[in-house]
Amino acid sequence: MKQGLLFLVLGTALLTGCSVANGRLWSDYKKTYPNAKALYEAYPALETKVARPKATNYQPSALLPTSSPTGSPFLKAHLKTGEVLLFPGDWSLDRDRELVLGTAYQYGINRKLMGSVDSVAWKDVSLFETNRPLPTNTPFRVASTTVLLAADVALGIICFTVEKACFGSCPTFYLDDDVPNDVRTADAEGFSNALMPSMAYEDTDYLGVRSLTGGKLNLTVKNEALETHVIQGLKVAAVPVSEGQVALQGTDGQFYLSNQALPLTCANGPEGDLRAALLKKDGVERFRPTDPTNLATKETLEFEFDLPASGQPLGLTVAFRQSFVTTFLMYSAIGYLGPDYARQLARAESAENTLNPLSFQSGIGKALGGLEVEVWDAQNSQWHFVNRFHETGPIATNTQTLPLPNVVFGDRLKIRIRAAQGSWRLDQVAVHALSAPVTPYNLVAEPLPAGSEEILSTDGGARVNQPGTHYVQPFLGTVPDGPTALFLTSKGYYLEWSRQSWLGYENRSKLGQMVFSPDRYLREVAPEFKSIEAAMEEVFWSTKQYSNPLNLSHEN
């Protein structure tokens, strides 16, 4: 692959170099002769008009008749008057009469066609000029550029029809797989930030409310990307809810119930009023494209809520997911590692301190940040930083609740969220009056039905799902029948597959910049991301599915 890159660079340098140098090679395509004698001396060696450029007439001059067709290159006779005669066909030199014979077009000083002549006297000519045909490699370049176009179109068609090959995703989970092959309906997305075994972690996602009977639940598990998923554990937390009541997942790991949502009276962003998009969790998201000069540019959203009469603890609930910024950066990081990706992954895995360039604690992740929440402390007249929301993954919407601190809010609750512009999509922002933490019921993953094991692989008790894997995972627990809020906890990691086409893009300095100078990197990469941002977002909403991505992998 390194040789391929080398050839690419050399080829480009050659092409670019040719743009400067090759003109010099053609400088002899045109020759001038001060008089007919000089032209006559060159006469036998003149290249033919119809033959290949390098073909020459080696006929000895002594054998030439005094007047004969030459089959010579294009001849121009520049007259002393400034006019020019152009001999488009055969011509010959008549030494006896000192004429150039042949039909010639006559052009005036202004190069307008005046007519034609059959001969011209040598004495009237100031300078003769011959031109040989110019070779060109246009057919080769047209062909190679057409191949490039064909490859571009083919890749476009693949991305149109099997988008996830171009997007990727983490393990996806579906409560109701009633819209097959549409990733938009994914209810949860597991451990998106676990890029290698040592990064495995537990990720809890809100699934929704379902009416359970007998403590049974079925969940569809899919691998819809070119990744290897290693699922080390799955369980579901179930919180029964009554009518008008919602169960909330706290960022502190607790679960809460709430019967009251505070009215959102004001929601403003740089583009204006955001209430239409953020009042309900309805799939209508608030999103603002990235800053074309810096992916880390921050924006601030401000909210106001009417306060309740009761003194119940409050929690800020946000339904959110990431845009494709992080996915883009992850793919870039893998591309920068080139063919060394697997080795570096193994090296990082065995190192004492694994460095994840996208980690939220350092590097790019830290520079991009999460959804930083502040509340207005009326007593001290200042904004009080509370905490941040952060969950990796652009597919499933996360709904989490951040318990608010016990500060004096004033006559209204004022909250502001600061985040990297274009990195997040918000579906809902709400404040709930919270109950005391509740203990959920647990639903445990059951063994798969007989026969399923034959097509699924395991590793030390973990489920290893290759691209295209799709099965129904049953859960069972002791839960009262009725409406129940469900929260999926998945533990594991995944290995992103590098693509054949990525291997030639190794760039350690860029990777180093990403890790050690993330702010600068995010500025420099912003235009590149901007050029594809709109298409990525649009296409995501038109998701289609492929049934067997393994086949696709061979095409990449």
Binding site: T12, C18, K80, I109, S126, E129, L134, C166, S531
Partner: protein, 190 residues
């Protein structure tokens, strides 16, 4: 492979065609040199052209001069700007004289390649937004390839930093200005 477009693609098309339009629009804002380049004869027809080559002259105390090389004598280079053969929109038709001693650099372009590659390149650009995340690889590659190809085209028949003596034969009047014709008279006659 079955191609089954999802109805949501309808929402993608405006953005897609918007980008296409911008790409085409971008291609419609050429430099003076590029405008004149398009008027040059094709490489397989230049032998029959009675005009001079396209000269790009940078000289002390002159702005860059682009036009048809008319003639070169012992002291000066004569360049016709705004003529029919190598027209640059908005440029007045003038015969410019530049002292040879003041010329810093002179380039000549005497022919051009066909436009087919540009058309293919434009189509390639149009497909790039559909590459989604792969675009971070395909955009630089396409730019590299197509820019190289364009550079090759522009440079294929370019004689860079050519001396006045070498350049003479590429002029409309390689023998020098028509004898006995005053400058003003020539200006009108061209």
């Amino acid at each position: 492979m079955k191609i089954n477009f999802h109805p949501h693609w309808v929402g993608f098309f405006p953005a897609f065609f918007g980008i296409t339009f911008l790409a085409l629009l971008g291609g419609c804002v050429p430099s003076r040199e590029a405008m004149a380049y398009k008027e040059l004869p094709l490489h397989n027809r230049v032998q029959s052209s009675a005009y001079g080559a396209l000269a790009i002259v940078e000289a002390i105390s002159y702005e860059k001069t682009i036009g048809e090389l008319i003639a070169i004598d012992a002291e000066r280079v004569y360049i016709l700007q705004g003529n029919a053969a190598l027209a640059v929109a908005g440029q007045p038709r003038t015969l410019k004289r530049i002292k040879r001693s003041e010329i810093a650099q002179m380039d000549l372009i005497f022919a051009r390649n066909p436009d087919g590659i540009q058309a293919i390149a434009t189509l390639s650009y149009i497909t790039l937004p559909s590459h989604l995340l792969y675009a971070f690889l395909t955009v630089p590659f396409n730019l590299l390839w197509i820019k190289s190809t364009t550079a090759y085209d522009r440079g294929a028949f370019r004689l860079k930093n050519i001396s006045a003596e070498e350049a003479k034969k590429f002029a409309r009047f390689p023998q020098g200005l028509p004898a006995g014709m005053a400058f003003e008279e020539l200006k009108k006659a061209l």
